[in-house]
Symmetry: C2
Subunit: 337 residues, 2 copies
Amino acid sequence: MSVSIKDVAKKCGLSVSTVSRALNNQYGVSQKAIQLVQQAVKELGYVQDQNAKDLVSKKSNLVGVIIPETDFEARPAFFEILPYLSQTLALYQKEMIISPVTVVPHQYESQTLEMIIRKRKLDGCIILPGFISAHPIYKEAKKLSYPIVCVGENIISRTCSNINIDDQKGASMAVNHLLANGHRAIGFINGPSHANICLERLEGYKQAMHEAGISWEDNWMMESDFTGEGGAKSIERLLQTSPTLTACFFANDLMAIGALAKLTSLGIRVPDDFSIIGYDGNFLTKYTSPPLSTVTLHSSKFGIKIAELLVQLINGGTGKSEKLAPHLISRESVKKI
Amino acid sequence: MSVSIKDVAKKCGLSVSTVSRALNNQYGVSQKAIQLVQQAVKELGYVQDQNAKDLVSKKSNLVGVIIPETDFEARPAFFEILPYLSQTLALYQKEMIISPVTVVPHQYESQTLEMIIRKRKLDGCIILPGFISAHPIYKEAKKLSYPIVCVGENIISRTCSNINIDDQKGASMAVNHLLANGHRAIGFINGPSHANICLERLEGYKQAMHEAGISWEDNWMMESDFTGEGGAKSIERLLQTSPTLTACFFANDLMAIGALAKLTSLGIRVPDDFSIIGYDGNFLTKYTSPPLSTVTLHSSKFGIKIAELLVQLINGGTGKSEKLAPHLISRESVKKI
DNA sequence: GTGAAAGCGCTAACAC
DNA sequence: GTGTTAGCGCTTTCAC
């Protein structure tokens, strides 16, 4: 019932192979044949069967995207990059197939990375973050010799690249922005210190302060929990212990937003009395009052870069590590002093 | 180099067809044969070639998800349901392939829905929202006889279902919450009235007010633009023209958050002086001060339902329309009076 | 219970 | 330039 290449060939009075060649714009086909074929394709409503094509050519033009299989309550991060990935891959004639993989290490066996790849002869795959570093998928990614890009995890091999956000640099940028506006006594409210990203952000803070020749005090820094409430509580305590601070950098926007509300309710005006800057570029920072300055990495940029890394690998490139620098969004929560 | 069913057969000393039957747990295979095959599969690291399988069985266990191809600046909505879709489809042994489609009607031709489906023999597909109603893809969806689920658009046919959020009901729920807390003079700040969702939310507001026997006034309602700034400006104007209002329902959270900031800066305390409720369930509403009451439909619920609708269609069900009711999240921005 | 053989829709030698 | 043929990895009659 479905029309195949044979039907097109018959209609044209040509052989199947000529039609195939015409369809794939290869050399050695007459203009006349090409026209005949195009005509027949249109009339018959012929669509190439990608499966059959893949079967013989032993590649699929399909890219796997591995996402952590969360329970249905958790709000998965990172998924906004999916459309950018998809669109960028489309530029290279690649389609994207999504494979959820369990985050529970000892359940990882029925659906290994290798099986996922081989099942559909994937050209390569992208592992999105959300797995713990000890998850067996990373060991496998390193071992396997298929093109793989690990996002947010430092795996590298001949056929495996990784990409990370340069959080240290991002944090430095935030602090430098405060410094450039004349602040010197700058607080820092970080997330849980066991997280890698927090370590990096801390380094960024220290580095920027160090380069500015400022000897900061330990009680300028505080560890919190990335929530709005946490930010609110932390800023209140921070200002009690270190009342000389004129500004504060928050390791994420949520804490900054929480702190902003708290400061306002405390009668401390932002930015007139106190300057703050967040981190992440959450889209709601645009709508706070005052709009929050922050540091961000656009999903689009990230998505495009990831896709390109994978395409390089597919085209025979060697695995590499990439760090993407975020950029500053300067709004109105920082005042020049 | 890749190990095929032949290799397994050879290793077992069985024929290819027996191995195939064993692999697909069919009847008429001896226990011994099954064990032999399982053993060989393990030792050889054999993985079935889904493509070859699909080629002969003429189906793919692949589901297409059509997403609007946005420019790289726009922040695409709805993508957080993707993982839920994917996970639910996985329950039915279906994998998910993403196809971006241009939102520009007259560019829609090189990649039609039919081509996308036939190219990989998709079992069915899901069209995510983001296209204008006049987009040719919807006409095609209605015409085609492949299982299709349209999200947010009212297309229906024998093989095409649609699913929508019941915004009218959601809006009623929000207003009813205000009513239940004793408010009667309730304002409503809507989004742009040309949008369908705004019409529905308006109806919901009117219905709830009507059922409560309240004759509202036209200047209790105001049209805004779904932004935080818009919400801020609107609430200020609304309170000037209608100072008797004790509460307001906002057609989205952003406007409510903007308004919240404005009210606070105006010295109007929420909820003590004025109650507000938003719409959408944006996760940041949890972190505003006070936390914002709102109405939401969990992505997870939505994703699961969409996937199930499609599976029903694939299994031979008939197209139907589904409306999903959101639910209320009661927090602290509404006071009992 | 098992095997031989045909064929799914396509590409890629290899001939002509 | 074009046609013939083999074969990709699998399922599925049809024999035995």
